[in-house]
Symmetry: D2
Subunit: 332 residues, 4 copies
């Protein structure tokens, strides 16, 4: 069936125009730090009403946006890495509290790099893992504390995709959990956005894990706390837009144009006869079934994936291996 | 500006519906060998009228099509490689005659693998070159004859893309021609098709070289006999469809649907007021300018590029390094 | 400590010169099929005496050798793939019998590609997995029977190396066993040989799994039936020689030369004073400790790894997905 | 023939023990900046006597050494990049003066990434080019001045290796010079060292270009001012040691040990009969001819190549795209 999908909560939220943009069960905060070009948005889905409206599970969806994010500028990437580190630490602090992990115990984090390394816009996860410094093999949780003085143990895996392994990602990750018993997962994945302007300009950090059907190419990834029994943070960057989405947008615009065109000709009544539901069905019929499988991506996506892969791995290194010198980094 | 581009002559030809599909200055032949699932189509652009109508330079455009082409089936790939080899030999025979290359002299062929190796749907050329067996370095044109008993010398280059080299492909290739003086170029490139059904199911072989603006991502490749002074055969496989093309098709279908819808309501007159030119302009206005840069591709494109890269390199090996045992392979 | 390591049982066996090459607890068979250039050797370690002598666990070690194995020759690679398929089927038949797997049940095989994909001579396992066709995700064990009419289910994993994952390979594979319960593992690994003449010219197939400390770079791989609870077949190709091994060989040769040199000068008595133990210690002292970490490999190892990776994946495909038309393939 | 090769002038120099290490026609300077862990060594070969003694062409060979160079430490890599940038600028300043390039004119630099991207220890050059930012395609030499206020134009090429292209590197690069007329080349190559302690711990910067027979795997690279007509700076990192070198060292040590051993037994006279020439010949006979083709490399060479590839590309970016704020960086 026809579906206009976005993995970004902030885009889902933008879709609601009525009622002043307010949705029951969903809160929104936006801010920008002084002297920073990064726009922060936090969408919180608070209850079942919010889940239904947004089509996403309850939890926190934090978005970091900046037009330059995919560009070459080392200083800028450092700023993004630092902000990501600070938000990661904040989320982990919350998870430790919520899960009552005993203070002083090392925190074992398994980083999972989702996606297909041989398909450029899907290779973000494997790219981050290629840069990641693990330390579990060093048999010494000697790293600097994440934020409360506890040591941290990092391991990592690139599970591959089902077409290559014959296994669900959740089976592979679930098996590794069984053998190595980490306290928490950080999953990295390339995302599908609704708007091409988001491609390579946004990082989403959420505590809700990876939902089935998300990501590039509709992998049946599904890594959630409900399924795995431990918290799953997910870091994602939109690298594709579903082909159906751009067709839908253009067609919607066309219908609008035709309507005003006709109105000027005294035929406006016609489109009143085409209510949203019918419009939707009309568009669905026009979309070829293959479109659900296709994605749209820019030709320089390799640069975006390479650079943001580096930025995200640095964010994780900063979050776990370096001492936050600057406590105000935590404030919002 | 808005442009619905296809690199396939056979698709350009299909666009002409009037006049029984006949175009002045363009000939068309279609055939299928007994017991073969490969459909062959030869479009010949014969004169300036044909060039204008088709928007492509005069020459021969041979298309090999089969739905299974991108699938896993070794026997099948062998059949495609053999057919490609046979057609390559035939074209080269023609070129030798036309260029009066002295019989008995070794034929030095430079194979050029166009495209960006780090962007999956653009990596066909580098993939073929990764499998290609060259022999120029062996300092002995000892290979079996291509088809008239002449020996052949093969060299190869992956020139990279301008964003990575800072140079036009034609500058790099032109320099290599200056230093090594090959008799002919075979250029391999990923192509943009008009229809998603072509992706990974078609190989186009042409003696007109690579035109500027063709290929994935609108690289400014341009490798033509006019520019380089030696014949350029080009082998291509469509791996993307321009985002604009998909939108255009849906919108065209929508306009058709609306028209019939309105007609049943006695408002059909309206669309009569929207002639093709105006329709085209309406659609153009709706297409976002970024769309020209975007392409649509399926998530399993890595498998297609890997397999067809292997099939094409085998076709070249068969054409140049093996003795055609079966002369009827040449007949059409 | 200083160790001259080989992962090939056939080389270990060659090291025994006394007693006509006979070792208690070890059997040896060699054969060559008519019209084949592949030399087959089967070393069987039968009991504890054999294990002690060979430094390897009891089981069957089958070696396929041919000088051309790493070269470009498609017909030849096909012959090797076929022979590998036939031997794989024979070993699996034996395992089914030994493990009393119920006839008619599908056989679920997990193929594990060991080694570091970013280090060329260690990338054989990931290379084979890159070509492997899995079918477990197709939810239908529809493949042709391996040899007794039973269907087969194939899954595969590239577990990575500990420096990148922070986890032992056995932890990752063990977890996957827990989740997916395969009946058998086929592990692919690059091996260390004793002699540079073995590099890229030999395939070893064994039913004893992967021993700790084997492979390139002394990964702490260990995948054995004892550890994992299910049979582990291992397929390996030597791609490196330990640096210590080539130094040892040259030094041994030097001592021999010096001895005969001195003997001709009437000083032969001296070397009588240097018994094998002392020779060994002398050499050990000269070898720098770093040598244990270093390996020797030829500059064209990328071609060998690419080609044999393809040959082995084809062997697995033939063993599991195709019907053996030719029963005499099984005979020895 | 047997040859103990090093691409590092500093190692060649270390080989001379007599005469207080002084060699006619060769000057040596060593220094270390305050607060820096990088040891700098400058070997200058001044005349024909120096060339004969060192087996390398006259020119400047600057070596930057630090044990941590291949390790993970971002701050440290930044220090190395800065030092490399400062030395690059100094050398280019000298070349501009020597070649009388008119001040104010843009300086067009072609960066050449030598080596085989699919063989890990040979992949340094392609790795640097993968990170390099070129600007020639931007059609605007808008970058910051290198050090005298002149703008700079950067282009780059990965020419591949002869086994894959069938062409000499000098043919490909020569052709590109013909078409694009750069003022200078910077060539990046992986080097062969004499001592395993150099692997990944040293960067050599020289104004003598790339000599035939240098690099990993004895590629017939040769990029020199004499051959190409423009200055060639070369940046290299040793990633391999020839197998012959390791064997030679151990055998030399063995002969020394045996000699002292025998001397204590009153047989010292024997070794007096084995003068250096004869020793050399004895060793040569023992070395298998294949050894000349083999190289020794550590199993974690992928990390070294990745990190130093990044450090070197950053050094080039700093040298050409950033303004030196700190003039004392130039002083020695």
């Amino acid at each position: 069936m026809f579906e206009i999908r976005t993995d970004l909560a902030v885009e889902e939220k933008e879709g609601f125009q009525g009622n002043g943009g307010e949705i029951s069960g969903v809160s929104l905060r936006e801010w920008r730090k002084a002297s920073s070009s990064i726009k922060m948005t936090e969408v919180k889905i608070l209850d079942e009403a919010g889940e239904r409206a947004m089509g996403k599970p309850r939890g926190t969806y934090l978005t970091m946006e900046a037009k330059q994010m995919g560009r070459e500028d080392e200083g800028y990437h450092r700023e993004v890495s630092k902000e990501l580190a600070s938000q990661l630490r904040r989320m982990i602090k919350g998870l430790r509290k919520r899960h009552a992990l005993p203070a002083g115990d090392p925190l074992h984090v398994l980083v999972v790099g989702l996606g297909n390394p041989s398909v450029t816009p899907d290779a973000l996860g494997p790219g981050v893992l290629g840069n990641l410094r693990v330390n579990r093999n060093l048999r010494a949780a000697s790293s600097l504390p994440p934020d409360d003085g506890e040591p941290v143990i990092i391991s990592g895996i690139i599970p591959g995709v089902m077409a290559q392994t014959g296994m669900e990602t959740a089976e592979i990750v679930g098996g590794i959990l069984y053998e190595t018993a980490p306290d928490m997962i950080i999953a990295i994945d390339a995302l599908a956005a609704r708007s091409i302007r988001r491609l390579g300009t946004t990082i989403q950090l959420t505590d809700t894990g990876i939902q089935p059907g998300s990501g590039v190419g509709n992998h049946r990834h599904s890594l959630t706390e409900a399924g795995l029994g431990i918290p799953v943070l997910a870091i994602g960057v939109p690298t594709v837009v579903g082909a159906a989405a751009i067709v839908h947008d253009t067609v919607s615009a066309l219908i609008g144009t035709l309507w005003s065109h006709m109105e000027t000709k005294g035929m406006g009544d016609y489109m009143d006869e085409l209510p949203p539901d019918e419009q939707y069905q009309l568009i669905s019929e026009l979309l070829e079934p293959e479109f659900g499988q296709l994605y749209v991506t820019p030709p320089d996506i390799d640069q975006t994936v390479k650079r943001l892969g580096y930025t995200i791995s640095e964010g994780i290194h900063l979050a776990f291996y370096e001492n936050p010198q600057d406590e105000e980094e935590y404030g919002i």
